[in-house]
Chain length 202, copies 2
DNA sequence: CCGCACCTTGTACGTCAGTACAATATTTTT
DNA sequence: AAAAATATTGTACTGACGTACAAGGTGCGG
């Protein structure tokens, strides 16, 4: 199974992805097109604007290749856009290597990989209604989870520090650890991850 | 991978299914329950009435087992019911053995197996009523709403500027206007407001 | 015509967020 | 006992963020 990550702009594959597919290539759009690179699965990040147009063109270029859209901050809108544009998978780029491999196998065999929450959303809209709210990933330590809960209500570092009775510096330390563990770059993306209610957990 | 076909009433596995999974078992509901049969995948036919209630009970009985609903006459309504009841697969019981095996592998790895037409249908209906981020407070101007949508996906000012083809300064201007109109102090609280979080409820 | 709302951009400044170097102590795991 | 994870805090730096001064352009209703 040949994997190819299409690098567009800032949309780079995560270290976990490289770990999951050591033999895979990550190529820029231009190189992939001119070299007529073959692939069974084409992965495409959403960091760069216009990814959905590129995605729609993939079947024409990489004949028969399945497409997986990789997002750092999965959300319903983006997921729908991805599926609408022909993707068979939509997942978090910072998912574990094992999970990324599972995604690959699922998609490679003709299945769809989408978060169960998103699926539930689809079902519900196909009938009606909408709920969804998530708990904290258990890879976070207890203290980190506390900090995460605080920031998820919109508090600043200073406020969190006062609330937990620690230094702002310590809050920053926890924050950095959380970012690293969840593969987000700032507090906003963290909140979206925690509340965003959709697609492939890490 | 242990396959189990749950025989209920007239819902028998097809010869093709037996061919695909020679080592699999097909048991009646009673036997499966009393014998505490273990399985990775439970297949369930739709020929017998009440299959959806049985399906919903599967996770409790066969802990962790994925469910595939098998229909002889696949149709949208039934597929939705199956997915709603927790199935990860919905397929034609008379599909080829090879295809059934693919279904098994997809579902076994956490993927969904559903026909592309059904998927398209789901996308279409979901897109039709996809407010979520679309229903922004109407006090926002058109442009402000665009910016708000961008920031609600975790993008930075610089990224939004590039995406909308304007200056970062302009993004800041819109952002400030949004904050003032909605009574929030920063982008994080804005996102919480837009996503129904617990930010500064005026 | 003139006000009003909207879109756009500039410079400058203060604050906040995040990280790059840390270090120390406690607890848990191996 | 050694190793690893966790919790805590420090200084200092860069860059992002938000705002306070602007200002010039478009379009629309009074």
């Amino acid at each position: 199974m040949r994997n190819l990550f299409l690098v567009v702009g800032a949309a780079q594959p995560s270290p976990r992805w490289h770990e999951a597919f050591p033999d895979a290539q990550s190529l820029t759009q231009d190189v992939a097109l001119t070299a007529r690179t073959q692939a069974d699965i084409v992965w495409l990040g959403t960091a760069a604007p216009g990814w959905e147009r590129l995605l729609a063109a993939i079947p024409g270029v990489f004949g028969g290749a399945a497409a997986v859209v990789v997002s750092n901050i999965p959300n319903e809108r983006e997921a729908l856009l991805a599926l609408k544009s022909g993707a068979h998978g939509y997942c978090n780029g910072w998912a574990s290597p094992r999970q990324l491999q599972a995604v690959a196998q699922v998609v490679n065999r003709g299945g769809y990989w989408i978060g169960s929450e998103l699926m539930n959303y689809l079902i519900k809209t196909a009938n009606k209604k909408l709920p969804a709210l998530g708990e904290l990933p258990e890879e976070l330590s207890e203290r980190e989870a506390e900090v995460a809960r605080e920031v998820a209500t919109g508090r600043s570092n200073k406020e969190i520090a006062a609330s937990l009775g620690i230094t702002e510096r310590t809050v920053k330390a926890h924050m950095g650890a959380i970012f690293a563990k969840l593969g987000v770059r700032d507090r906003l993306q963290l909140v979206l991850r925690l509340r965003g209610g959709s697609a492939g957990e890490a």
